[in-house]
Symmetry: D5
Subunit: 162 residues, 10 copies
């Protein structure tokens, strides 16, 4: 879905949205961010939706210094899909929020699970190196349902230099 | 199969085709596009056919702005294979058509399933980023049949810059 | 095995070969090409042999224009292995032969199965794009035997430009 | 520059813009598209601005079929820089416009030269293959001014398959 | 330019073409192939046109065995540009023609120079390995004119295995 | 977790740490290094934590010469996660320690298992070549628990030169 | 230079530094950030120092939304080199600062020029795409001095998807 | 393990070795090469050891010409690990030895199995192309034991040129 | 040129060759190897010929152990081109020859200069690492003649592991 | 040159070497390391020698923590070449030595210049990131002599993650 102001024909199931097609300032913290959902098209088909967010940034809860991560989120909708502009604004709301890598990565996934009650969801969080050693965090809600195709995330590992 | 005008010997099972080897203008919308099929060679052998379409484009249904995707379609023919020129023209017919990413990706797969009644089919739709966050959509008709070789699509993830 | 003229010590099981170490013109069509085999060394060990042929070319049966493919063939020998120079000449014999992608790819595999009666065999045929959309064809004789190691072919997908 | 609706503090020199921060439908052809400019910041410093547009598409003037290109534009501003949303909409206006590769590529550059009267400008147009053979077009206004740093565009060449 | 049958509006300067938009069988040897030209658009602008042909194949003049090459041709038009379908058919005409690598590579360039009388032209011919050692051939008509931008061809070198 | 001196709000469960946010000289040998742990956030969720350490160096126990390795460690926390600064200092403590590749790689994993009593843990140790032949060592505590997502480490193999 | 708290022997010329080896909160805007310098070692030798900052982020001045960039800065010291921790904190101070891409990129360079009065300096700013089209900005103080080696920055271009 | 002359403290279990830390001429044929073993450290832990040998060379048994291969060997020790210098000298002993690709690849694996009686072992032999078509050989002793982690060898396929 | 036995039409200027199209055992040392030449086609055109030899191997003159190198040779013919099969056999003759990297690399170039008296010649010798540190040797006969196009060799640097 | 114990024929000009072919413990600091030289072969030919050392490590002079770098050294010998084992031991001697990046990188180059009095020399030092921002240092003795070929070092830039 697009996150720009609508100029085309209206789309079904998007009437109640508060952010798509509107000028929406980012929330100042994750708790205040409004994640929105729309009915999944093709209900009954178990497809996977993948979001890749290479622009995620939060703060270290101990030092207050900025941390950066490349996030990849995969999920299988049940009745709802997440509205993509609200997801973008939700991720942006971590900009001035402090959280440990392990904590923050899993928390994002849990918030989406709460909103969407999906068939299945996973997050891969690929944090930039600190002290020469990057941390990655991987979590999924459980064994994915049989018969659904979920490609590898295949984010390249950290290589140092040379 | 080729999509150019025939100059060689005629090929079996291609007589009824309306587009292969003819000057065929693209349809103005997916509904008007004519997808055609020919009998599968080597019937009884479960092989996989992969189409890679890096030139797919449609419109955002809300804003009317162009969206772009790299599509990869895999299927195992049952009795029919899709005629490749008609597939190309079908994909081209989305050029001025508005659809959400999740909707459009699954719809293409369903249209092919209808035409071909294949043993199995899947689509990977790798959309270009909007708002810095690309969406990928993955769907298959179900667990692939045992004993058939289906290589990974291995389309590289989005990396931002640098 | 090498396909050059022999100057070293003779090798066991190669006496009956008609092409290895001889000046052999390529056959003018696949039917006339002579595929040869030699006894598998290490019989009883289930190993995989992979041939990679990035120089395959045939003709389009409809238009007569040249088509190109990158082929990868994997097999587990039973009693025989294919003599590699005869395989090269067999593949060369498609140079002026017309066949659809799906047909040609599976036909090559079937001819090898006939000759070698292998434990298992597969072919990956990665055709160059026509009309902007390449076709890949994947076939194997069935579920590979348990306990044999068969690495992924990992041929990169087509990316268009940029 | 961003192409979304403004919610932040107003920026100097952007008052006269008709498209940035507004819902602007794309023009139906290049002639109707409105390219806009703003005063270059840091006037007197010869810096290079590079736009990369991997989503360019136009029509073949002979067959009416869609063509695709990956465009990279480099320029050294004199008094003006191009407003990026208007550039995006200008490029989008080629969507239903027919032009030969060589013609279209150079025409885009000329239009920008007209608008901006830059110190120097070049375009690299990397077209998707047709008939197995892609065409690239490279043009610049002339020898770049001495002492300005202009990195290579380094767009990878087309490799066929395998 | 496209090499498919015309269905769109006619394009200026293409009336005399014998192959574009027509069903044209490939010539049986380079001498018989008809290379065609059209007037260069944007005359007076020195731009570079690059063709990449990863599907070139000819025969070894000594052994009659097929050779393969990846060709990249760059030129700066003077009054003419080559019509791309005729170029494709010209290259295809080497399919059953015997020539040494060094000879064949330079000969293609000379034929184009004869036809187009360009400002400047070069060819890079990247031949597949024979005996483990590939040969590349590089030729240009002379020092390129000043002030024209000619990007590197950047074809990756041969790496053996692993 | 960060390994810099704390300036932000204090984080729960980190009070007992002796190294995080303090100036801590590296231990002179692995035995003296103090590995520390903190309670796992999101207890009950089986997530994977990956550390990538491309700067590992130890000494050859026979010759005393430096060896280098790229290490990747994956684990599923049970009650504890390792504090990352203490892990970094632990790895640094091998700098003047002699150990065979096989021994050293597994020993690091065992030390972590002892500290964390994790659900599961593995180490991939990718040693630089000696005598032209690198050694990699791979170990895990056993079959990973079902339903947990553990991506491939995907460290590229050694390729020699060229 | 390291940005961690000092535990080793004191280093010459670093006594006056206010941030290196101290807990230093990031400034809230670029104007308040304190950039520091130390005497260049090996004065009289014209060497190049390159900083790569893949974690740069600022705000769009029009919409207030976050922008991201990968920055590469090269300079030839005259009498001073920049102290790296103060540079890091300076770059971090843009986190909540609004600026256009062209403006912000050149401003960073000018601030460093002011501080260091270097022989020569350049910046490459590779911004993440907005609206599908990334902007890069390149600036240098002028022709680099002869006889100094300045390698290409070689940051890969943006490729869209696939 | 290192293959250089010992200058450090003696290591346990290495007393009986005849080659490590000594000047050892390579054997003139595989039969004469002395493969040596030392007790596996961490007995009872099923870890994998990988050797990568990109410098393997032998002779074609028919023509006497040199062949080259990139070898990757994986094994799970039972009681023994191979001493790496003796492995290197063993591989070097094929330098003037003639053997077919399929034969030679499996023979190396069998010799190691004989020496080490490992839990499991596999070899991937990636031969350089001859006649344009490389051969790879893959063999393992059988299904690997459950619960042991064995990463993919992931040696890139042969791509021809371009 | 091909190095296989001739079966096609005879080629001009190849009558005096002693090795092309014949069974030729490799010479036992470089001095005994017979390098042969044929008249350059297209005399008067200054083109570049590049040979890439990823399979070069010689012996260390001090220890007698095998060394490996990836060689790339570029030259501009004057009256002669080297016959490629004789070049291959010449390179093979170093197999049991001892020479230092610097010596051997330049010696190969000098031998070719002697034979061909070319306009210009260079060699890039990329040796496999010994002791973790590879050596590359680059030499050319002098400044290349103006107006000839000589692409970069672009052999990737050595990266260690990971 | 090799750094292993000699077993082959003695090589000219190596008699006076104290480390090559001997068991040589690494020096404990750079000042104590003995760099050795041998006469350049092919005197009068201006060739380039490149050393790539991906395993360099030293200590931070302020914090005492280990730093890592990938070094590439290029030089044109005048009368001497460096003996490679002594170079390796010299680089190893920085293992417990503290120095700033800028200082250390240039110091290594100066020491080599002193020893070899080369025609020309340069060093590229690619340091691992600290605080997310790596530093590279580039220095050369001056403009390289005309007519000598010096390929780009082409070490890939740092990319962060993802
Ligand atoms: Ca992977
Ligand atoms: Ca590394
Ligand atoms: Ca993959
Ligand atoms: Ca980045
Ligand atoms: Ca693209
Ligand atoms: Ca290929
Ligand atoms: Ca390049
Ligand atoms: Ca290799
Ligand atoms: Ca992989
Ligand atoms: Ca190689
Ligand atoms: Ca480049
Ligand atoms: Ca693409
Ligand atoms: Ca793989
Ligand atoms: Ca190719
Ligand atoms: Ca480069
Ligand atoms: Ca990234």
């Amino acid at each position: 879905m697009s996150d720009t102001t609508p100029t085309g024909p209206s789309a079904p199931g998007t009437d109640a949205l508060s952010q798509l097609g509107r000028n929406t300032p980012a929330a100042s913290c994750p708790e205040e961010a409004v994640l929105e959902r729309v009915p999944s098209p093709h209900q009954g088909r178990k497809y996977v939706v993948r979001f890749t967010a290479p622009e995620f940034t939060s703060l270290c809860p101990v030092t207050g210094q900025p941390d950066f991560a490349h996030l990849v989120i995969d999920y299988i909708p049940s009745q709802w899909i997440v509205e993509s502009k609200s997801l973008k604004l939700y991720l942006t709301s971590f900009r001035n929020h402090g959280a440990f890598h392990e904590d923050c990565s899993v928390a994002i996934a849990k918030r989406l699970v709460e909103l969407l009650d999906p068939e299945w969801l996973r997050i891969g969080a690929y944090w930039y190196p600190r002290g020469g050693i990057p941390i990655d965090v991987f979590w999924q809600t459980g064994e994915p349902p049989a018969g659904v195709w979920i490609p590898s995330q295949d984010v390249p590992g950290y290589r140092g230099r040379g």
